[in-house]
């Protein structure tokens, strides 16, 4: 038992001849705000897909809360306490905002379908609790006003927040956020940063996020892992990573250290 919440050892995946993730070693202790950064195509989202069981690694080990999770169904891994959002938003577009969050609770439902059909007291009590907690989560992310709107009709930034809300409903210990700030305006990004910090500080949720908005990452994250061509090229605090020559090389080819900040912040 290493005490790490998520531990990937020599994680590798090959798509045909391409090694998308190459012997990646990542360890996330409970309670950390961690970041995973790297240029486009570095294998960040592939890592998320590996962690959540969406794709199977070609090699290496993956442990979540001390238990091996390679080969488990994504739904099982989610029920163990790992939830994610998607880079290309994947909400249930025709369901309402509230229903999207309620779906997140379904994996934890302890009644079978017959008690749901017959509305047995046990089921009804759980349904009530789901509605109450969904209300609380929507309040937390600030979408209460839109609860009855179809999720597909929301603005982009709100859809990102709803994805977080839906992930929170599954009761995660580890939350994986894939580019949560993409498409958000500066105010929304600031709101997101304080939301993520509250999730950690008040709910004790460990967070691992992928993000291209470097100002956001540098301010929020306590530990960064930098990927390039599927390999970890640097790790450490934001300050350490920012001044790492290998990182600068990866982002800019070659150039000034201060270049990272401006370049990525403007294009994100």
């Amino acid at each position: 038992m290493s005490g790490l919440l998520l531990q990937a050892t020599d994680l590798t995946v090959r798509f045909g001849g391409l090694t998308a993730v190459d012997a990646v070693r990542i360890g996330i202790p409970p309670g950390q705000l961690a970041g995973l950064i790297g240029p486009n195509g570095a294998g960040k989202t592939t890592c998320f897909n590996l962690f959540t069981g969406r794709i199977r690694p070609s090699g290496g080990k993956l442990e979540f809360a001390g238990r091996p999770i390679v080969g488990l169904r994504p739904s099982r891994i989610n029920q163990m306490g790992m939830a994610r959002t998607f880079q290309n938003i994947r909400l249930f577009g025709e369901l309402s905002v509230l229903e999207n969050v309620l779906v997140g609770f379904h994996g934890g439902l302890k009644s079978n379908f017959l008690s749901a059909i017959l509305r047995l007291p046990g089921y009804v009590a759980q349904e009530r609790r789901m509605h109450r907690r969904a209300g609380e989560i929507l309040e937390l992310v600030g979408l209460t006003r839109l609860r009855d709107e179809p999720a597909g009709s929301l603005a982009y930034g709100q859809q990102r927040l709803l994805e977080i809300a839906r992930a929170l409903a599954t009761g995660p210990r580890l939350l994986l956020l894939d580019e949560p700030a993409a498409g958000m305006n500066p105010q929304e990004t600031a709101g997101l940063a304080s939301l993520v910090r509250r999730l950690r500080d008040e709910l004790g949720i460990t967070v691992l996020l992928i993000e291209h908005d470097m100002r956001f990452v540098m301010k929020l994250c306590e530990h960064l892992t930098v990927l390039d061509h599927g390999r970890v090229i640097a790790r450490g605090t934001p300050q350490q990573v920012q001044s790492d020559p290998a990182v600068i090389q990866a982002y800019l080819g070659a150039g000034e250290p201060e270049g990272i900040d401006d370049d990525r912040a403007t294009d994100a």
């Binding site: 369901l95 379904h106 439902l109 509305r119 599954t170």
Partner: protein, 363 residues
Amino acid sequence: MNLRDLLKPGPLPPAIQSRRRDTLLTIGACVLTAVGLWLLQAHTSGYVVHMACVGALFATLAVSYNLINGVTGQFSLEPNAFVACGAYVTALLTLSPAEKEASFILEPLIWPLSAFSIPLLPALVIAGLLTALMAFFMGFPVFRVRGDYLAIVTLGFGEVIRVVANNAQSVTNGPLGLKGIPHLTNLWWSWGLLAVCLFCIVRLVHSSYGRALKAIREDETAAEAMGINAFWHKMLAFTLSAFFEGVAGGLLAHLITTISPSLFTFFLTFNLLIIIVVGGLGSTTGAVLAAFLFTFGGEWLRVVEEPTRLLGWDIPGIPGMRMVIFSLILVGVMIFLRRGILGRHDFTWRWIIAVLGRGRTRS
């Protein structure tokens, strides 16, 4: 006024407070339907009663088929197999031993089945459970694939069942089929089944399970990532719909009293598919509405095949004309109501009251 605005309900009452009212309204509607059926039974011809039975059975089939195709979004094409299974099982269980001996002239019926018969209700339950069991085992290979492939695999299973029915001479009596099935299906059986089926499926769809099924329809990857085991939820929808399709098949056999493999070809599935698409994939009330329109519409359209005199023109009756008109109506529905009559919406008491309320305030 725009039609779309009319369909949009006005401000809605709070959901919790309206629940008791909805229950009372539903019970009221059931009582009214029962009275209506009693009047139908007492005052109309056997033909109308027969059509009302067929309508209710098709509505049951459409609602259960819609659970897997519309609500869960798994485009499958096998209900003819389930209806056939239910029909054969029920018929074999209720036919008297003497009747069976008279029917099976080429090869005798295998032993345990040939020796006994049981009443309709247990036969229907056994048929439903056996059909659900068949769906359960079918589900393992079937749900390894998605989309078009799922359609093709289930279509194949539908054909397999028909071929088996044609060739398992000593069980199904082959192409000769089963004759002399007692005419036990009446309005109460068929409408009772529809009521039970609606109760179960509407309740399921409006529960956490229903939300999970719709989530799978909307985005299976996301649903799975949110802790929903997509495979078992598809299995649930599939076996539950198979159960009701099997029972409906059993009642269908006892309504038309003669069954043979040719009754359960792909055309049965095809008709059900038309019904649920016209009603609106994913809409339970749409499926019921379309099933009755389909059943009765086909009969009303017989008028066009009679010779008539219209605006001074003599129009001779053209046999087959009603299918032409029927197809034109279908084309029209698909052009003007691309997502079916009700789309993915359902009639709810909330909606009906809101629409009626708006009508009142305007006048």
